[in-house]
Symmetry: C2
Subunit: 293 residues, 2 copies
């Protein structure tokens, strides 16, 4: 697959997809996901989760294109959990992995500037963060200086994969366009100022793969917008639906979290350690998506 010489973050992500495939490994690591015999070796759940994350990361660096760390699982463990979150991000940086912090923050003005500082610098620094656009494009603008000067990126919620997504995202305006479509168009407009050599920009979109018609229309209209695609596996998304989300086999990554973290529970991986099983599931998923393109 084609790669580009650009060294912007979005080009590095594009090239990583070309080289390694579409797997985004979600480190939504709940303590209950750890094998009992592993988890109980540590002084605290947070320490156990960090050790688990390290083993999964070590086993998957060459088959996972990007890692998505879901901060909610760490916040739920309080201060110790956020220490574990910071350490997990530091370990991924050390390994030169590309990291999406799935924080879904969304605020305005100085508060949004604070979120930018929180997640693009310091203890919680990541490459990309997810953003909730409900309050409008005001939620994005305070991040732009970081996109330009620190080579950071955003993935903005546009069409999510949950059953209730239609409550608000599916509201149809008088012109027949949904809130998702209008949001997508606004995101594409903002993204146009941040394009890399690959043709994609630093402001991507979260587009779930469980609503094919809706996302098919969005893909056609958002040709420079890179997609973070949740919903594969557990939520019902299938590889055969994926072809609608890519262009020339690139332009998106597909997230799987529990499917990978708990892959050891699959009969075909039962003989493997949790880390080996995570790796085997990344390989299986990568081939599943590749075969459908």
């Amino acid at each position: 697959m084609k790669t580009y010489p650009g060294n912007k973050l979005i080009d590095r992500l594009y090239n990583a997809v070309a080289e390694k495939g579409h797997v985004c490994l979600g480190l939504d690591t709940d303590y209950s996901y750890l094998p009992d015999a592993f988890g109980t070796k540590f002084a605290s759940p947070a320490e156990a989760v960090y050790a688990f994350n390290r083993e999964v990361i070590d086993a998957t660096l060459d088959v996972s294109t990007v890692y998505k760390v879901q901060i909610a699982y760490y916040e739920a463990m309080g201060l110790a959990g956020l220490d574990c979150y910071a350490k997990t991000l530091a370990y991924l940086r050390e390994k030169k992995a590309i990291v999406i912090a799935d924080v879904k923050r969304g605020d305005i003005a100085k508060t949004a500037e604070m979120y930018a500082q929180a997640h693009f610098t310091g203890d919680f620094e990541a490459d990309f963060i997810t953003v909730n656009p409900f309050m409008g494009m005001d939620t994005l603008k305070p991040f732009y200086p970081y996109l330009e000067k620190k080579d950071k990126g955003l993935f903005v919620l546009v069409a999510t994969s949950n059953p209730g997504a239609n409550d608000i995202e599916g509201i149809l305006a008088a012109d027949g366009e949904s809130v998702s479509e209008k949001t997508g168009a606004m995101v594409a407009g903002e993204n146009a100022a941040f394009l890399g050599e690959s043709g994609y920009g630093m402001i991507g979109a979260v587009v779930g793969c469980t609503n094919k018609n809706q996302t098919d229309r969005i893909r056609a209209r958002l040709e420079n917008v890179f997609f973070l695609i949740p919903g594969y596996g557990a939520q019902g998304g299938k590889a055969e639906d994926m072809k609608y989300y890519f262009k020339d086999g690139n332009g998106g990554v597909v997230n799987s979290s529990r499917g990978i973290l708990l892959a050891r529970n699959k009969p075909e991986f039962a003989h493997l350690s949790f880390a080996e099983a995570a790796r085997a599931e990344c390989v299986r998923m990568r081939e599943d998506i590749q075969s459908a393109l």
Copy 2:
């Protein structure tokens, strides 16, 4: 003003408004807001912010009805900042203050359960949290067990006060209703299952006071929904607009953050310490709102 015997959180908030007025003191405490001579006495910005918060809290407990702590300002300081956030919440609990954690989290399923655990238990426990409903009513449901069993509450973004709020919240559906109005109606529907003696429910709404026409319509339709009202002062909201948001002088609290935290910079409070000035501004704001009702 009337009070109710109910001992649910929402009734306690209602009664606190009847007794103390409408002031919601926003602890959006940036280190730069501290007087130089105060901030530099501490080993770290986070420690200084915690000490500043304590002094402001001590000075305002009888004139501030509820405190809203904006987590973004603490996240921006990394782990030390979240330690300061946890300590500030603990101090407010110790003082038996009612606390809104302004976290604007919004996610679904197990991830939303993790946010509920994070902000309704443990290090970051608060009474109310703010929630972003973009992903639909799925974002609210995982919090309901806490509303019922732990006497917690939500404030859901419905019509915010920022200039770009119309980008998404202002999209008009084919029937002429805005996304804000439709969101408000959904929130009111959910809230109906959680009513207290006062007639208000545990699922409130964030309704900014800078868009009078829009919020006037929302108020008329959401009679059991308690309002958290941002936009007073710095963002242009005036006390005279407030009457559209209340019913019998109750049913909402009005947030001010910088206006209170930096009140010492007002000429009329220049002779006061920062904490005395914060208190004086709470009293002034309370009377300003009261006089307009």
